[in-house]
């Protein structure tokens, strides 16, 4: 099942946006994010997600804290920083405009 690489490139940009949205909802750890994405077109694996999260943290959009889990070793739980919230709000606004633009063209 091969797909147009153009669609893949589009999605790659959106993954960051989606991850920020997932983290905004509640404090999550990596398995939660993977599970949420798994059922969608954005199914992602650890090999992609960890570097992405690390970059977002370095950009100051999110933060994590270690938390004991009921079973197993402690986990990193992620949440948005104030900068992350602002970035996401921008993304959201941009998404609405983008949608309107796309809808208004070629109809």
């Amino acid at each position: 099942m091969s797909e147009d690489p153009k669609l893949g490139a589009l999605r790659k940009g959106f993954l960051e946006f989606l991850v920020l949205r997932i983290i905004r909802g509640s404090k999550v750890y990596v398995a939660d994010i993977l599970k949420k994405l798994a059922a969608t077109d954005f199914a992602t694996q650890e090999g992609t997600l960890y570097p992405l999260l690390s970059r977002l943290r370095r950009e100051g959009l999110l933060d994590y804290q270690w938390q004991e889990s009921e079973a197993g070793p402690p986990r990193k739980y992620y949440r948005l920083t104030a900068a992350g919230e602002r970035q996401l709000a921008e993304f959201d606004a941009y998404w609405v405009r983008l949608n309107q633009t796309i809808d208004s063209m070629g109809s």
């Binding site: 099942m1 669609l7 398995a31 199914a43 090999g47 992609t48 992405l52 970059r55 370095r58 070793p73």
Partner: protein
Amino acid sequence: MRPVISVSLNGRAYQLEDDAHAALAEYLDSAARELAGNPDQAEILDDLEHAIADKLERCLNPHKTVVIRSEIEQVIREMGPVDSGVAGASPHDSGPAGEAPAGSGTAAGAGSSREPDEPASKRLYQISDGALISGVCKGISVYLDIDVTLVRLLFVIAAVLTGGLAILVYIVMMFIVPYANTAEEHAAARGLPFNARVLVEQAKLKAAQLADAAAQAAMHNRSREARMQWKAEWRKARAQWRQERRRSRAQWRAYRWTGIPPATASPAAPPLPPLAHLICGLIAAALGLVGALVTVAWLFALFSLLTTGAVFGWMPFHLPLWGAVIALLLIYLAVESPVRAVRHAMVPRFYGYPYHWYAFWDGLVGLALLALALWYVTHHGHDLQNSFDSLQQNLQPAWHQFLLAWQTLVHGTH
């Protein structure tokens, strides 16, 4: 024998077979290369190790402490290739789009690897544990997953309604339906998967029992000797268990090739006091002998009836031949079933099944059913005979026509 390499992932030790270790090292090396220059390289690698450790936990249990190559490869597939995270930086990378099918594929793979390898096929067998006559009804009840008493009741009703035809069906099935002797066949009779997973679960159960015994022993005596003894016992039990599996499998193979049913493989007996073991064994053996004698006597009687028309020159009722055969069968069952009931009550205890009394009651219920059937035949024998006669009269023209057609066919071809 493979060398094992211990590695530490996120503060926990894991043992990998050498080629599994090589595969993991290669994955982490390539991840490190991909992340070269990334200021968070060390942290991301830590995260990846953490995730790998989580996934490896799934493959391990107290009975399996070493990770093999295929498991590492599965984990690596689930992890996916490491992407430096610089969006659009690597043109060869199709990103999540390319990974999506792989991700869903491995998810399905992970699910199916826990399923049985093949759908369990269900087969009809005769089952002699808890059987009343030969185990046909018991086999049917297991096959259909309903109570054996219900099947017997239906059989008796069918026997009465069809004027004995169901008994003939039973006898035919007695000879053509194979016996479930091995664990595989018992599993197939119930339509259960019989594979490594089931074996592992049995092994776990056994280990738990042994551990219990060991704990009890430890309470009595915490000395080193006791531990040694329990270790030796555990090894012995494991060896015995392995041997049993091997033997039953070999027998099953032999059975399939030669059609010779294997001798009943006895499941490992639980520890039973020696005296009780002896008594149970003696009673079971004596009852088995009695049962065999009754069966032989019955076969002689049947032979005599079929050849001379009387049981050893004795014919108390004026029954037609078919009625006499049924009566003989019922008499045989009436004599044999109490013996059988007691034997089955004894033998399961021997084998450690939890339902000793079930077998006993099963036998009693069967006996009651037989008494009912016997009563019916003695009180309504005439009705039965009439219905059978009318059936015969109805069938006779058809039979003659069939014979005629057959003869013309045979002569026509000559």
